[in-house]
Structure formats: structure tokens, C-alpha cells
Amino acid sequence: MSSTDKLILENIYSTYYSGEQQLPVLNNISLNVGKGEFVSVLGPSGSGKSTILKIASGLLRPEWGRVLIDSKDITGKPQLVGYMPQQDLLFPWKTLKQNAALPLLAQRSSKKEAFTRVEELLPSFGLDGFSDYYPYQLSGGMRQRAALLRTMMIESGLMLLDEPFGALDALTREHLQDWLLEIWGRFKRSVLFVTHSIDEAIYLSDRIYVITERPGKIALEKTIELKRPRSKTVITTSLFSSYKQLLIDSLNIKSADYPGPDYQKES
């Protein structure tokens, strides 16, 4: 952890309480995201990945531990960060333009100014000409890009992306991964990216944290040394395959004790 880090989580513990039940979710999580770095968190469903993002943004106060953004302690204080929740959360009652302009309007920009800024960016997000469409009129892939556009409009150097491609089909997904890398290369933000797809994590990241089933602990931290810019051909390289094998092992899927994480989550 150096002073060039954009985001630092130090020894985070977190538990959900509902009624008289306790659900320990995070168990001593420490991680950091450097300036301009692309860091992924990979883990099984229900391991607490979304919770990490909530804590990093200051929306949720951890039971124990500190959160630093630009070396400032912001634990439990909602920050102005580019947070993109797990569902796209485009508001169905707003057009694409109105959705994307929300962060600017919240900062008291005038409507005109905000819309102009949005319109400027539409082409690079492949959304040119769709500014007055309602979300239901957009395809799944377009919705994700619109949500990412909105996240970009939040004037903050840090982006927290929660499985942005989780709901898409495999083909659209792979396409958007390339596109995200391109956008990220252009805007130079620090990114903390959550996924449960191994391929996706390797393909996108500078560094990957693997976390275990609930309560989530860090099982592995791995720097990915595939050179950039990357393209899909990298997937068939042996370096990629060896990273993949390593991550699969660390995720440690035990077929013996199936029914696994899903069932336990519900009971």
C-alpha cells in the first residue's frame, strides 16, 4: 500500500443482522487499487463481493476496519464515486439522456449543460441517436453501456463496477469486455471490478483478488502480466490457461459437499 493508491480497504469485517440472526459476510479483507489500475474481485455467489463495493463507496459502514480514498478516511460516509450496482438500475421512467445526466444534475448543473455533456459522449459509447429512448427500448448490451456512461459522468477518479456484464449472454458479454478495455484506456480511471467469471477477470485485470465462500476471506492475490492492449486471441495462450488453472484451484470447488454455496445462501 503506497500513497499512490486510489482506494485502500484495511482489515474489513462485516456482518449483516436481520432480526436475531447474524450473517458474517466479510472476514478481514484488505485490498488496494492503485491510480489508473484495473483490479478485479473474483468469488463465488454470495461470498460478499457486492458488500465490498458497498463498503468501498462508503454506503455501508463495516463492523471493523478502515476505508481510505486518496488517503482520506471515509469509512461509512457515502462518497462521490462511480458506483455501478449489480443490476443496471437505469431508471425506467427516464430516457437514456436523462439517466446519464443524473449525476451532473445532482451536482447542480443546469439541464442544458448536462444534456450537452451527455450528447458529446454518446458516440464513443455506441449510443448515438438513442438519447431519447427509454431503457425498455434498448437492448441488454446497450443498457449496460448506458449505465456505464452514467457511471462515467460521476466526476470521480474511482469506479466501482459490480458484475456489469453478469446479465448478458456470452457473446454480447465478450464484445462488451473489449469495449470496456477501450473506454478504460481512454478515460484513465481506477477501477474495482467484481465478477464471478474467471475468463473475464483474467482478460480485463491488472490484478485479481480471489475471495472464498462466505464469510469472504482473501484466498489469493494475483497480478496478471498479459501485455496490453489485449484482444480475444490472448484467451488461447498458455499463459492465460495457466492463470485460469491457478484461479480455478484457488476457488477450490468441492464437488463432494454439493449442494454448495447456493443452497446454503438460501437456508
Binding site: 458497498k54 463507496s57 454506503l59 457515502p78 462518497q79 462521490l80 464515486v81 462511480g82 458506483y83 450496482p85 449489480q86 443490476q87 438500475l89 431508471f91 425506467p92 421512467w93 427516464k94 443524473l102 449525476p103 444534475l105 445532482a106 451536482q107 429512448y133 427509454y134 431503457p135 425498455y136 427500448q137 460521476i154
Partner: protein, 259 residues
Amino acid sequence: MKKLASIKANLPAVVMLMSIVALWELVCLTAKIPEYVLPAPSLIFIALWENIFLLLDHTKITLIAVLGGLALAILVAFILAMAMDRWKPLKQALYPVLVISQAVPIIALAPLMLIWFGVGLLPKVLIVALVCFFPLAVNLVEGFSQVDPEAIDLMQTMHADRWMIMRSVQLPFAMPYFFSGLKIAATYSVLGAIIGEWLGARAGLGIYMLRTMHSYRLSHLLAAIIVVIILSLIMFKLAELAGWLAMPWKRESNNQMEG
């Protein structure tokens, strides 16, 4: 094209209704059923036709009570629902009462309104407002409480203030709930006004019904019932239209292709 399709879809129903009316007319004609037992449809339509201006005068009076009560109910429901969203203790105290009130026939309170507030416009407006208030308030509160907390989190990461969150997330989110409550309320409203009038009024459709009942003119009573039904349907359709206008993003089905 959309209209055409909907006419087509309703054709069998229209044909069926028309045959029922025709049969009814036939039975009345051949079996010589006296008017005070079952007037023939033709008699009802004559009654409707001859009294149309009188009926419209009464309708006007009823309509004022309906619209006044509805407006009052909407206003109070919004204020209360927003207050309940803001102060949780208020919600804790009121929400269970609201929910239970759904299962209470509010109209049974009508005699009290009359006794307490006299026989003018006020008690009818109050009855209508009472009857409409509960579905509106329950639905609004329900709507506010169903807002995805993630959406509010998201707004907070943009540092949006409370009023902006209310305006751009909570209110639009609660709109479908509100309008489904409004459709229920619109239906009840007419009945509320009429029962209020049954219990005491100067004029209005309820009074017209009572008078025709007391003067053995069943055809006139049925004419009034037809007007009541039409009025209820209009109120219902207006509520639907209001929802359509207020929620452009809900117009999916057909506009998608035109848009």
C-alpha cells in the same frame, strides 16, 4: 390499427349484449310484464332520452362531489404518504391502520358523516374522500417502500439531496402503485357519492334514484342506473388515461414500433 383490433376483439361481447337486450324487449312485449316489475329496454331508453337534461343536471351535482372528494383524497394521501416515508414512527403508527382499513366497508360510516356534517356538499365530498383515501394512501406508501434501496444508494454516490431523490426516484417509482390505487378509487368514488346522496341531499343521481323509486318509475330508476354505470366507467377510464399520460415509459406494448 390498434383501435380497429380492439373493436374487433370486443365484437362478440357487443353482439351478446345486444341479443340479451333484444330478448328482454321481446319477453316484456309478449309476456306483458308491467313496468313496475321489469320495464322493457325501449321504455328505459325513452326514459333516458326524455330526461337527459334532468339527468345531466343531477349528474353534475354528483360529479362535483366525486371530483372534490377524489382531489381531497389524492392531496391528503400524497402528503401523508410522503410524511410517512420521511418519519418512520409515523409510518409505524399509521400503516397497520391503513392496511386494516382496506378490509373495512368505509361506506358504513356514511350515516355518521351526514349526522356530523349536515346535508350539504361537504359530507358527500368527505364520504368520497374517505372511500378513495385508503386505496390511494396504501398504494402510495407501498410504492414508496418498494423502491429499490440500491437505487437510493446509487443516488447517494452521486451526492443527490433528499428532494432530488424523492423527485427523480421515489415519486416516479411509486407512480404505477398510485395509478392502480387511483383506478380503484375512481370506481368507488361514484358509489360513495351516490350512497351519500341516498342518505340526504338536495340533488344528485342518488336523489334521482330515490325519487324514481318512490314514484314507481322503474324505467327511470334503470335509466339512472345506466347513467351511474357510464359515469363510473368514465371515471375509471380517466384514471387509466391519467396514468398513461403521466408514465410515458409504461407505454411499451404498441408504441415501441411506432416510436
